[in-house]
């Protein structure tokens, strides 16, 4: 464990299999997962606000001010 990095904290060259540039890093799976979470969040907000809050029985109405 302690031998896997050198004294500067970087892995030794032999461990690196492939080096990526900034734009080549492409975590598409993570992006898809977060997009899914995002859509669930939006869907739950729509349900909570429009179905549960506005659609559920009498609602306090009036004019602001």
């Amino acid at each position: 464990m302690s031998q896997s990095t050198d004294q500067h904290g970087a892995p030794p060259d032999s461990v690196i299999e492939r080096e990526l540039t900034h734009d080549e890093f492409d975590p598409i799976g993570t992006a898809v997962l977060i997009t899914l979470y995002f859509l669930i969040l939006v869907g739950m907000w729509l349900f909570t606000y429009f179905v549960e809050f506005l659609g559920n029985g009498p609602t306090v109405v009036g004019v602001i001010g």
């Binding site: 992006a31 907000w45 009498p58 306090v60």
Partner: protein, 174 residues
């Protein structure tokens, strides 16, 4: 600064989400007319409610074609009208009506809440809580005190009956 394209997308999506939240609340207020309960009901002397024109004889009053006013006095531990379990009249209004509740307290802070809906206000002695509600469908709702008001707070409850228009008899069971 070198920002990854996924990070840019996430920053953009987060901003859009905030705008979307604000837009739905704005729609609720402007489009659907959802309102907050404020202090527009005014004040009242909690020690002389019996002499007050509104709360001396609380109950349901018709003030327009489909408009009603319901004056309710909350006291430990009942709503008058409302607490039919204790012998008071239930609050009875017809369907398809616009009902304005005026609620005040004669003693301590109470709550006036119709569970499952957003009809919910604090009832403060000396203050009149005014809230306007539209009842579309016949139904029977509960009424609860949701501010701890004393040893029997948990039994402070009532009933709001929304009856079909042709069965409405004036609201006071008379």
């Amino acid at each position: 600064m070198d920002i990854h394209s996924y990070e840019k997308a996430w920053l953009g999506a987060a901003l859009v989400l905030i705008v979307f939240f604000i837009a739905t609340i704005t729609y609720g207020t402007v489009g659907a007319g959802v309102s907050m309960v404020d202090d527009s009901g005014g004040t009242v002397d909690p020690n002389n409610l019996a002499d007050h024109e509104r709360f001396g004889d609380p109950g349901v009053e018709q003030v327009g074609e489909n408009e009603y006013e319901v004056n309710v006095v909350a006291s430990a531990f009942y709503f008058n009208p409302g607490s039919d379990q204790l012998g008071f009249d239930p609050i009875q209004v017809p369907a398809n009506s616009t009902v304005t509740f005026y609620v005040t307290s004669s003693d301590v802070i109470h709550g006036f809440s119709v569970p499952g809906t957003n009809v919910n206000t604090m009832v403060i002695p000396g203050e009149v809580a005014e809230l306007t509600v539209e009842f579309d469908e016949p139904d029977t709702y509960g009424l609860l005190c949701n501010e701890y008001c004393g040893y029997d707070h948990h039994n402070m409850e009532g009933t709001v009956e929304v009856v079909p228009e042709d069965q409405y008899d004036g609201g006071d069971g008379q």
